[in-house]
């Protein structure tokens, strides 16, 4: 049940066709796990919390550095040296006091991932490296939790939504690894991709629109193009092929 304040706060989205109070109540009941509070995590968290997702858990183990500030808009000059979870929590609580926000300082590993995501309905990939993305992809499949992938490089970005048992997973899409490196990035790239991820999360929870499943969306900011590529479930995928299809 929405309160009078909530009805007023979310009025402009409640009046979207197909959204309604029922959609808002679904958002309020949802528990979203966001892996990373950096470039992608900033827009993802801002827009999910502004939209009224009921519970959000943020996991990040980094501290704010000066070189983060061109893109990680949750963190400001005064936050340099602070834990990102503290800096993010402070701003996000001021943004919307109606959302329950938990912040955990941890590096996500194969050992702790199950415990970290336990009890959450959705996982957002806002990481800055592929090995952790693969850990999250596998854990999401094992626990049957929808997984919302995003990644950026320079002016480019990628996004894809993964529904376990139904769609291609991150490992069907990517098989190799790239060396962990200082990657180039302009802040507007994660802003675009993070907003696409947040859009997908909201659509999934509310139950409207068409999800970005079995499709890799590539955003090319330099040429200002969005291109889609079809992604098929890999029958030999080492992450998802042993799970029964629900199609």
């Amino acid at each position: 049940m929405l309160t009078t304040d909530e009805l007023e706060r979310y009025e402009r989205q409640i009046i979207i066709e197909g959204f309604g109070e029922e959609g808002q109540e679904r958002l309020k009941r949802a528990k979203v796990f966001v892996a990373g509070a950096g470039g992608l995590g900033s827009p993802v968290l801002i827009y999910l919390i502004a939209a009224g997702v009921g519970t959000v858990r943020i996991v990040d183990h980094d501290r704010v550095e000066l070189s983060n500030l061109n893109r990680q808009v949750l963190h400001w000059d005064e936050d340099i040296g602070r834990r990102k979870i503290d800096s993010a929590l402070e701003k996000l609580r001021r943004l919307n006091q109606g959302v329950k926000i938990e912040a955990i300082e941890e590096m996500i590993t194969e050992v702790n991932v199950s415990q970290l995501i336990a009890g959450f309905d959705l996982i957002v990939d806002a990481m800055d490296n592929l090995p952790t993305r693969y850990i999250l992809n596998k854990a999401a499949l094992e626990r049957n939790i929808p997984f919302f992938h995003g990644a950026v490089y320079g002016f480019e970005g990628r996004a894809m939504t993964i529904i376990p048992g139904q769609t291609a997973c991150l490992r069907c899409l990517y098989r190799g690894v790239v060396p962990r490196e200082k990657f180039p990035v302009i802040g507007v790239a994660p802003a675009v991709i993070g907003c696409i991820q947040a859009t997908e999360v909201i659509k999934y929870i509310v139950g409207i629109g068409e999800l970005l499943t079995d499709r890799l969306l590539i955003y090319d900011g330099l040429n200002l193009k969005f291109t889609e590529f079809k992604v098929k479930k890999d029958p030999n995928c080492e992450h998802c092929s042993h799970f029964a299809s629900k199609e």
Partner: protein, 90 residues
């Protein structure tokens, strides 16, 4: 036979700044070989020391994945190839 290949923003510097290059061939492998013939310095960006496509590259033809037999995938006149690099930044 004319096939267009989008070499991506990662490799266009090796193709005189062109992101889209016209190539010829009847398979993806032949098209990539023609690309290398035109721009030899692009080769290390596509293939490892053993001549295998880098594991962090995927080739799409008309928007569809060519995995797992990427280089053997047949192509025809008018097809569009894309070289997609795996990225991990966030």
């Amino acid at each position: 036979m004319s096939i267009k290949i989008d070499v991506s923003t990662f490799l266009h510097k090796y193709a005189n700044g062109q992101q889209v290059v016209e190539v010829s061939g009847s398979t993806v492998g032949q098209c990539l070989n023609d690309l290398v013939k035109q721009f030899p310095s692009i080769k290390p960006g596509l293939f490892d020391k053993n001549g295998k496509l880098h594991s962090y590259i995927a080739i799409y033809v008309n928007g569809e994945s060519t995995y797992p037999e990427e280089l053997a995938k047949p192509v025809k006149d008018g097809d569009e190839l894309h070289v997609i690099f795996l990225i991990g930044g966030g």
